[in-house]
């Protein structure tokens, strides 16, 4: 009885509440509108952002390609082969990896009384990466007169918009590849710093010609430590003169004195010369053997060198023996070459 009464009341309320039903329909529409608005706005904005980002990426790629163009145009000749006519011959080297298309060649000619310019549009001038191609173009520049002297300048325009100057000189030689310092040795030599002293010439002088009449001769070189740590020079370091049939040796010494009878302070491995990183040092070579105070070229010429008046050319070689401060037990050696010298009468 109660259940039937409840159903009847509910049916009556629903019939009477028609505004409530239309509110539900209205709410559904409102949700629909909001959902359509939000989703379409979101998706469209996203797609436009994608378009914009793609454009930025494309622009960056374009700029990158423009900057990557690397072309040398050199070995250029200009020949005025008729009135108003000039032939421009050049060589194009594409050093870069991108292929480069040239669209236009511009040329400018001038002398004291004349200035003129013109361009020629090029077709099919496409240079692959690493390729070298010759280019010869006949151009018209109004006012040029055959037989007159002109100063020319020209430049090429690439399809990407770069301007490439056309050089007259040949392209510069590529830089030689340097071997790593650990391969070549840590020391470099001041090439023109082979000097010597002698009893009658105790001030270091350039060792180009050394008279055989000199006595108590010592050699000097200036070396630079290019390594990143200090190096200790060993007493077995020497200079050798390569003269016909003879190779007199001059070992490193610690010091010299030319007062009275010249003397040598022998080199002591217990108190070595230490050359700091990126520092230069003048080393002296004069001893007959390692770590001794005996002159190699003292009161007489080194053994085997004749005292005659015939000049003798000598090749100078240095063996520099050293240890690194961080590895004192491991010995390295480096050969350094000089200019040659002459032992004169």
């Amino acid at each position: 009885m109660r259940t039937r009464l409840w159903h009847r009341t509910r049916r009556n309320r629903l019939a009477a509440g028609r505004k409530g039903f239309s509110s539900i329909v209205g709410a559904i529409f409102m949700v629909l509108i909001v959902w359509i608005l939000a989703s379409s706005y979101f998706i469209y904005t996203l797609s436009q952002n994608t378009v914009y980002n793609d454009a930025i990426r494309e622009k960056n790629l374009l700029e990158s390609n423009v900057l990557s163009e690397n072309v040398q145009v050199a070995n250029t000749t200009y020949v005025v082969n008729g009135n108003d006519k000039v032939n421009v011959s050049t060589s194009i080297t594409n050093i870069g990896s991108l292929s480069v298309q040239f669209t236009t060649l511009w040329a400018y000619a001038s002398n004291a009384t004349y200035t003129g310019y013109n361009f020629t549009q090029l077709s099919n001038v496409n240079v692959q990466g690493g390729a070298i191609i010759p280019l010869s173009v006949n151009m018209t520049i109004q006012g040029l007169r055959q037989g007159s002297a002109y100063s020319f300048a020209s430049w090429l325009i690439t399809g990407r918009g770069n301007v490439v100057p056309v050089e007259i000189a040949p392209p510069p030689e590529p830089e030689p590849e340097h071997l790593p310092i650990s391969t070549t040795g840590f020391f470099s030599l001041d090439w023109f710093y082979l000097k010597y002293t002698a009893r009658y010439n105790p001030t270091p002088s350039d060792a180009t010609v050394i008279s055989k009449s000199y006595r108590y001769v010592a050699f000097y070189i200036n070396v630079t430590n290019n390594g990143d740590e200090a190096m200790m020079i060993k007493s077995t370091s020497l200079i050798m003169l390569l003269i016909e049939w003879q190779e007199p040796l001059f070992y490193i010494v610690r010091g010299l004195s030319y007062s009275g009878t010249p003397t040598i302070t022998a080199y002591d491995d217990g108190n070595p010369i230490i050359i700091d990183s990126h520092q230069s040092y003048i080393l002296t070579f004069a001893a007959k053997s390692a770590a001794v105070g005996t002159w190699a070229w003292g009161g007489s010429l080194p053994v085997g060198i004749s005292s005659g008046s015939t000049p003798e050319g000598g090749i100078v070689m240095t063996a520099l023996v050293y240890t690194m401060q961080s590895q004192p037990t491991k010995t390295y050696a480096q050969s350094l070459s000089f200019r040659a010298l002459v032992l004169g009468p």
């Binding site: 329909v25 529409f29 629909l32 436009q48 378009v51 918009g161």
Partner: protein, 164 residues
């Protein structure tokens, strides 16, 4: 008994009007709802079209690139010839304003007649095309450096320094 029931149904005018008004109310809500959706859709479409145009305009501006090939000043004729190339990725590049300046002086040109390199007039340059414009009555000091700046109708500007 049955005839009494039928008689009562036909006499109940109140119930019939409730159903009709309910249908009318729901129909009105649906109609207004669809109208609102249509209006919203048209508004959002217009907005999206406007936004799309704006984005496309920005994208085209990004793709614009102009390279200067040569700037020649004729000291006798007092004219300046500026040779350019559209090296960008969008066509229809023309120039609305050109500025010639140095550190203490500037002159503006708003009417620029663009031509192809063969001398034929053109309203704009497409991708890869080369052209030039000539400016008359320009007095520059020979040997001095000047800057030429061009502004496209999309609003991009490109400049180049030259020696007169």
């Amino acid at each position: 008994m049955k005839s009494t029931k039928n008689l009562r149904f036909f006499k109940n005018k109140h119930a019939v009007s409730a159903v009709i008004s309910n249908i009318i109310l729901v129909a009105a809500v649906i109609t207004i709802g669809f109208a609102a959706i249509a209006w919203t859709y048209s508004q959002s479409s217009a907005y999206m079209a406007q936004y799309g145009e704006s984005v496309q305009s920005d994208v085209d501006k990004l793709r614009e690139r102009v390279s200067f090939e040569y700037v020649f000043y004729n000291n006798t004729a007092k004219s300046l010839s500026v040779y350019l190339m559209n090296s960008g990725k969008v066509g229809d590049v023309n120039f609305t304003t050109v500025y010639i300046s140095n550190s203490s002086w500037i002159v503006t040109f708003t009417s620029v007649q663009l031509k192809f390199l063969n001398g034929a007039s053109t309203p704009d340059l497409d991708m890869g095309q080369e052209g030039y414009f000539a400016l008359g009555s320009v007095t520059l000091q020979s040997g001095n450096a000047y800057t030429v700046k061009v502004v496209t109708w999309r609003g991009s500007s490109f400049e180049n320094t030259f020696v007169a």
